[in-house]
Amino acid sequence: MQFGIFTVGDVTTDPTTGTTPSEHERIKATVEIAKKADEVGLDVVAVGQHHNPPFVASAPTTTMAYIAAQTEHILLSTSTTLITTTDPVRIAEDYSTLQHLTDGRMDLMLGRGNTGPVYPWFGKDIRDGIALAVENYALLRRLWTEDVVTWEGKFRTPLQSFTATPRPLDGIAPFVWHGSIRSPEIAEQAAYYGDGFFHNNIFWPMSHTKQMVALYRRRFEHYGHGSADQAVVGLGGQVFMRANSQDAVREFRPYFDNAPVYGHGPSLEDFSRETPLTVGSPQQVIERYAAMADHVGDYQRQLFLVDHAGLPLKTVLEQLDILGGEVVPELRKIAAARKPAHVPDAPTHASRLAAARTQQTQAEEVAR
């Protein structure tokens, strides 16, 4: 099972000091956080894509390439790549380039974006959100799997004899996750293609996450990609830890109370009960997250949001030390012990290349 972090790349004032990082500081901090995640042994770091303040993360592949150049093992991903407002031709080219530069140490998660005004800035309409995700991804797949594409659709210029370059590394398209919180159509899309499905449940009760994952699993099996429990599932998470749980609560509460999304609403205690937010000791986090699989089945990827609500860089780096040092090794053990052999790990470039080679060898043997 993969464990990692994801960020949306927001610039938020630290409510305890009134300090707001500059865009420059925030972008540099994102890189520092990713390097630290690599250093403490996490598997994945995912960066956001937004085109409106207070976010600075508008160019994910640039940031990913820069991080990849300074890290050894960690896999680069997105949270999320906007499939609605980004030209699929550009996604094909940018991410194939990244795939070559990183020797396959990357994948991507597609999302639609829920901010109405962003769509027209890119010549699109939020009311076409699902239709854009469907058409653009269908084209993106063809651009990666077919060398020469002739295509016509509703949302972009037709293509005559177009070849997206570079071609994917080793002829294998980057692995794709589809992220959605509330849209069954996106769970259906992930299931149809046999791609991964990521439910960013950080603001949602488990009853809802469970329903969406169950739907994806059921449809994954329906489309013949394997049994429901072999579907590729990712979840979000949100934690804040200190050795002593009271210290964690005391330190995190002002950040929680003023957080951009849920701040000034529910109490930290209420929100922790309803959502995956866990503020306490490393042991409490281990217990809570080890139990996630009881609700959604054995899953492949767990990403934590750690750099939000104005938390200073120093604190975020400390959180990563705890996460990588104490929490994830324990969660890895627990996940490995409970996962049946037929449930796959999250696909990587190496595992997909090996699978493709096996398939080719078998085909050659049959031909002989």
């Binding site: 058409e135 269908a138 259906e188 899309q189 949602w204 059921r218 999304v261 701040g263 529910p266």
Partner: protein
């Protein structure tokens, strides 16, 4: 939410959503009268019923939280589910500043799209003066038309003076009786299937098949 066959004799589920905040509350009083009258009217038409009250004053904090978090939690989640699975809904609000109260609208705002589609609804409101009575027609009825609910023609308004006006065959009592009768007629009407309440963790229905989405 699912429906069962018309031969099923499980009681009809009447859910009363009332936004009165006083203790005691005249809005609650009116809602109770409408509920009792509806139960009686249903019985006259051969239908047993059970009544469930959603007193919004108990959910004020949960509603504020839901505005920011985007989901209903705790008892509020159960209230939302009760409304979605109701055979009939009675709604009653006090009039504040020439319209339904903010508390009342806050509850309506968190209902998922389609929650009241096709549901028979009886509209009711209270105020200190009868000059507000058209709130039912100018604010409440358009709101429930938007929600695609089936509102019954008689909406019941009670001003302070109505509580002291006499007579069972005219005035408030007559309006309550008429509205309850209309609601019972719709609920007990031929072929209206019974509803069974949904479950918060129930299975999601199959989505539109992907080939269909791909075809645009």
């Amino acid at each position: 939410m699912s429906t069962s066959t018309s031969t099923d004799r499980t009681p009809r589920r009447v859910v009363v959503v009332q936004a009165g905040v006083g203790q005691p509350s005249s809005t609650r009083l009116l809602a109770e009268r409408l509920a009792t009258s509806t139960t009686d009217a249903l019985l006259e038409r051969g239908e047993e019923s059970v009544v469930e009250f959603v007193d919004l004053r108990l959910h004020v904090h949960e509603l504020a939280n839901a505005m920011l978090t985007g989901f209903a939690s705790g008892a509020l989640a159960e209230a939302v589910e009760a409304v979605r699975g109701a055979d009939a809904v009675i709604v009653a609000t006090p009039v504040y500043q020439a319209s339904y109260s903010g508390l009342f609208k806050s509850f309506v705002d968190i209902l998922e799209e389609g929650s009241l589609k096709g549901t028979p609804v009886l509209l009711a409101a209270t105020a200190g003066t009868a000059r507000h009575s058209l709130v039912l027609e100018h604010a409440m009825r358009p709101l429930f038309a938007h929600l695609k609910a089936v509102t019954v023609p008689t909406a019941v308004f009670a001003a302070s003076e109505d509580w002291g006006a006499g007579g069972l065959d005219h005035g408030l009592a007559a309006r309550v009786g008429a509205a309850a009768g209309e609601l019972a007629d719709v609920v007990a009407g031929a072929g209206r299937p019974r509803r069974t309440p949904g479950r918060l963790d129930g299975e999601l229905a199959d989505p539109v098949p992907f080939e269909q989405l791909l075809a645009g």
